[in-house]
Amino acid sequence: MKRKTRMWSNLSAKIASIPMLITAVGVFILCVAYSIALSFTRSRYFPKFDFIGFDQYIRLWTTDRWTVSVSNLLIFGVLFIGFCLVIGFILAVLLDRNIRMEGVFRTIFLYPYALSFVVTGLIWQWMMDPALGIQNVVRNLGWESFNFAPLTSTEYAIYGVVIAAVWQGTGLIMCLMLAGLRGIDREIWKAARVDGIPLWRTYIFIIIPMIRPVIVTAVVLKAISVVRVYDLVVAQTGGGPGIATEVPAKFVIDHFTERGNVAIAMAAATMMLLPVLLLVGPWVYNEYVRRARA
């Protein structure tokens, strides 16, 4: 009788986990495998399984639009993560110095994070408008040669996207860093002061190494959002001028929708997946799977 109950309740647990099983295996394994499989075929508008090896990948890497997308992603990723970390850290340090109205400042720095990327892209498109945006205001103040219309030039447009992304993404990093700083033992500060170490050196050589796990987490989270960047570009620049701000995520969507080239889209999606798996795989294993066993 007792045994029966145990079986039964364990059975309930298993039944309750069916949606999770379907999602984990059906979506995150089978769907991904299906996407990868299609990248080795000649599928156009509809999936078909006529395997042709790596042809799509060769075609992909010889497509300008793709190589531009990848280099944009690298430029964007490095600048975006760099600025978010530096500014986020500085803001966290400032907020950690016992200031008045800390809550108000924190709220101000984090609110853009609550907005949709579409909203962010549109706001900054408007701010960077050459005739009506910031540029015009500054010129009217008398600085005639002032230039701030990055979205109109193929060379600088991607930096315009970086500014918008940093505006939206810094608050989160500040939050994480602040939590890290608050976790530091107060004794450390006293010891550093007694030893006569200047404040900035204490931060750089003692505090930063101490909050390294937080920094790693921040970089991982941001790196993921970099690979995914899509709505921001669609709203702010539409990938233009020309193909100056195309990104891989947009390449994939455009190719399996309006361009009707599923196979190359899936090859591009597979290329997006690789860095994520390489980056996150070990981290997830460390954080969750191994820890759970311990």
Binding site: L21, C31, V32, F117, W126, W167, C175, T257, A269, L273
Partner: protein, 297 residues
């Protein structure tokens, strides 16, 4: 992370502000200005007439406040084919968000509970796959889902878009609940087991009443996430379920001749209003939610 550690000496402030303190506040105020400027610009622009917008005085307050742009954005602006403003998008977004949030939070709670207390074989592996799933770019999953939904005939329907949101929300919500349930004392669960309570009984009578705060975190996280989604709504929304973000982008990019910036800005604010309201009303929970992805179990 606890409040105790940042307890500082309250009491009288030092009499003199040192130059360093001035610098500190100066930096903070400059940063705050940078973060607030776009919001300010959006609001003042949406309250101006189009003629006034064209003067190019971005930061100037409107000479006379008018809500015409708001009315137009809400009810008559054109989104490509139709000219009903952004209100249909609002209705769609509410529908999609409410249904998806309810289902995905319930699923995530059950998952987290099952993973924490009923350690059946393979639970860890399952959870590992799910967490990896949180990081998989949508692009590597979307197309097969489209094919699948076409096959079973729900592509472009409300059911289709809700299903997709539940799938992509599952990893993070499961993670949040699992971390929370793992932090509860195991004795609680064991005692209930000894008293003969089963899987659902323990879940509904003991665990759920104890997890109101964490449920609030999950609901807030999902609500803002789903409301702000653009890509999934664009691909899976079909013609009848386009969320507000998609409609907004259509309004702005559909420019027959004149670009009505004030209307665009009003539509943008309307789209941002819901997540902003959630953020300002639930600050602490919101922060907890976004940090959840980074919190150790």
């Amino acid at each position: 992370m606890t409040q105790k550690e940042n307890a500082v000496a309250r009491g009288r402030k030092p009499k003199k502000m040192s130059p360093a303190r001035y610098g500190l506040y100066g930096l903070l105020i400059i940063s705050a200005a940078f973060f607030l400027t776009p919001l300010y610009v959006m609001i003042v622009t949406s309250l101006k007439t189009l003629d006034e917008v064209r003067l190019g005085k971005l930061f100037a307050l409107p000479s006379t406040i008018t809500f015409d742009a708001w009315i137009k954005a809400w009810s008559t602006a054109c989104t490509g084919v139709t000219c009903e403003g952004i209100s249909p998008g609002f209705v769609n977004s509410v529908q999609i968000t409410v249904i998806s949030v309810i289902i995905s939070v319930m699923l995530g709670a059950v998952n987290g509970y099952a993973l924490s207390f009923w350690r059946y074989r393979g639970a860890n592996v399952l959870f590992g796959i799910l967490v990896m799933g949180a990081f998989v770019p949508f692009q590597a999953v979307i197309y097969p889902l489209i094919v699948f939904q076409r096959e079973i005939g729900i592509f472009g329907s409300l059911a289709g878009i809700v299903m997709v949101h539940c799938i992509f929300g599952m990893p993070i919500i499961t993670l949040i609940f699992r971390n929370y349930f793992s932090s509860l004392p195991e004795e609680l669960f064991k005692a209930a087991r000894i008293d003969g309570a089963g899987f659902w009984q323990i879940f509904l009578r003991i665990m759920m009443p104890m997890s109101v705060p964490i449920t609030a975190v999950a609901v807030i996280l999902q609500t803002t996430g789903i409301w702000n989604d653009y890509l999934l709504g664009l691909v899976f929304g079909g013609r009848d379920n386009q969320p507000m973000t998609v409609q907004l982008n259509n309004i702005v990019t559909t420019s027959y001749g004149v670009r009505e910036y004030n209307v665009n800005m009003a539509a943008t604010i309307l789209t941002a209003a819901v997540p902003l309201a959630i953020y300002f009303l639930s600050g602490r929970f919101f922060v907890k939610g976004i940090a959840a992805g980074a919190v150790k179990g």
